[in-house]
Amino acid sequence: MKKIMLFFLIFVCVMLQISFVFAGEDSIKFIDVNPFIHKIPVSIPPFIAVSDRKNLETVMQDGNRYLKKLLQFTSYFKFDESNSVLGGLVATRIDFEKWKKAGDDMLISVGCYLSGDSLEMEFRLFDVVKKELLVGKRFKGKKNKSKVMIRKFASAVMSSLFDNKGLFESRLLFVSDHGGGKDIYLCNFDGTGIHQVTADKNIAISPSWSYDNKWIAFTSYKRHKPEIFIRSLDLGKGYIISKGNLNITPEWIPGKFCIAGVFNLRKDPDIYMVSVNGEILKKLAGGFGIDVSPSFSRDGSRMAFVSKRGGSPQIYIKNIKDNSIQRITYEGAYNTSPSWSPTGRWISYAGMTKDDGINIYLIRPDGTSRKQLTVNSGDNEDPVFSPDGSLIAFSSSRNGKKKIFVMTKFGDDQRLLIRDLTGNQSEPAWSH
């Protein structure tokens, strides 16, 4: 008996130690360890029709599938396939014990009310263990807007549980040679709804979103040399920045209607802040060697970039206020393509080694906690965070041609994001 007690005591101590080590990672309200290893078991039983059940059948079945698909995409949740009936919509009517026994931590109830063409949907997220309501939303609209309502609820769930915003409304820009030449394309967060933004069949690359998601910037060789094109997605109008013979890697600057880009004005390609009319506002990084690929923290206070000033391409961070510059990558002879997480707590980048091609890494802005996310899977480049900071999209040649993949920010669930598009895809940019 004593032995068992002792063993149990040691086990508890060890577990406590481990939890101390991991505490202080990114604050995710609900779970503090890698949440993707221990996914939240959740049940979404069939929706309940409050009235006009006959005409609601399809909406409810499709809706149930769609909500599961959305939550599944985030990789935070796992679903059991039992189709148990709910019993009611509100907490007082639900038998939480039943769901707890089935292994669920959470439960979602959805009620639908149809009157003519007007649909009302009521969503509730429950904590099964605490028997509490966590999120409650009611939406009203036309019957064909059911998916919009479901997306809004899913966003509310993500926002409430994980302090995260806007994943389901977000979109991606990317480059594809699908049509011959390289052009810029647009799609939804889940890789659906692909449509073409440029159709020049020339070379259009390096797309970038403005912070209000209304403008894009990219590099195009349409006029026989690389120039930066700035375009409003709604209005179709825009600007062209053409200084000298090199205008590349445009990135919007947080809080300002201007661009950081790389230009060759003197001896080397350097990073400058320029207005959309092409006026040089400030030199951001320059000097000996190549400086390229600016990426800003969301508050605009710091800029990550690639520089060869130390002899090989490495990631540096510049503090915009005091102009101090610090190198953060020291392992590997070739580190490029930095992308700042929206939380400001991580930077993802692509590092090339002799043995394993190019892989995606994560590193803290102070250069600590370096993690390798891809291994032994071809070349993996161009990492970019989702606007909620939970996912990373990247291009990978693991299946032959370059395709856009997505994974959790810890490297789990690496899967193809953009399907059904032939050719090579690269340089994804995620909206803010």
Binding site: Y221, N245, L246, I248, P269, S293, T336
Partner: protein, 206 residues
Amino acid sequence: MIKRFSKIIIVGSVLFSLFLFGCAQKKVNTSDEQPKDNQAVQSATDNQKTKDAKAEEAVKAEELAKQKKLEQEKKEAELKKQEEERQKKEAKAKFQNEKVFFAFDSAELNEDAQKILENKAEWLRQNEDAKITIEGNCDERGTTAYNLALGERRAESAKKYLVALGINGDRIVTISYGEEKPAVIGSGKAVWAKNRRDEFIINSGL
């Protein structure tokens, strides 16, 4: 009556012929002495004839030789011209086709590169009106952005060297294509080495 008449005619024509013959002879013999006998006259005439013929032939031969010489010279000049044109074409093709290659992640010019650029400078001196573009390229590894910058440096590196060799910088435009325009599609060291290059394009002037 008729017999007497014909006799007169015959004698008359003979006398007339003799008279004519005598005159003719006199003409030929411009030299002072009267020909003593026909044979001597004959051979002298023949000699003269041969001499003249020979002289004519000589003149003709000279003329012919001259013509031949002229033709020859013309041919040679033609060949020379063709050869020159061929060399010019070759030099131009060489200028356009000969590329400068680089080591991984480098824009430095090794010895081979420098030699090639020296040849190109020579061509540019011979063709003063020519303007060119240098296109900088990279292999497929590494990020698009970084490779665009590296390609630019490779193009600028070659331009700088040409300028140092005396070529006016205004004649040279640089452009980077990064990894976007490989010469050879594929992977592996051999392919990559062929793609890390500067290409030289003649814009105008020829």
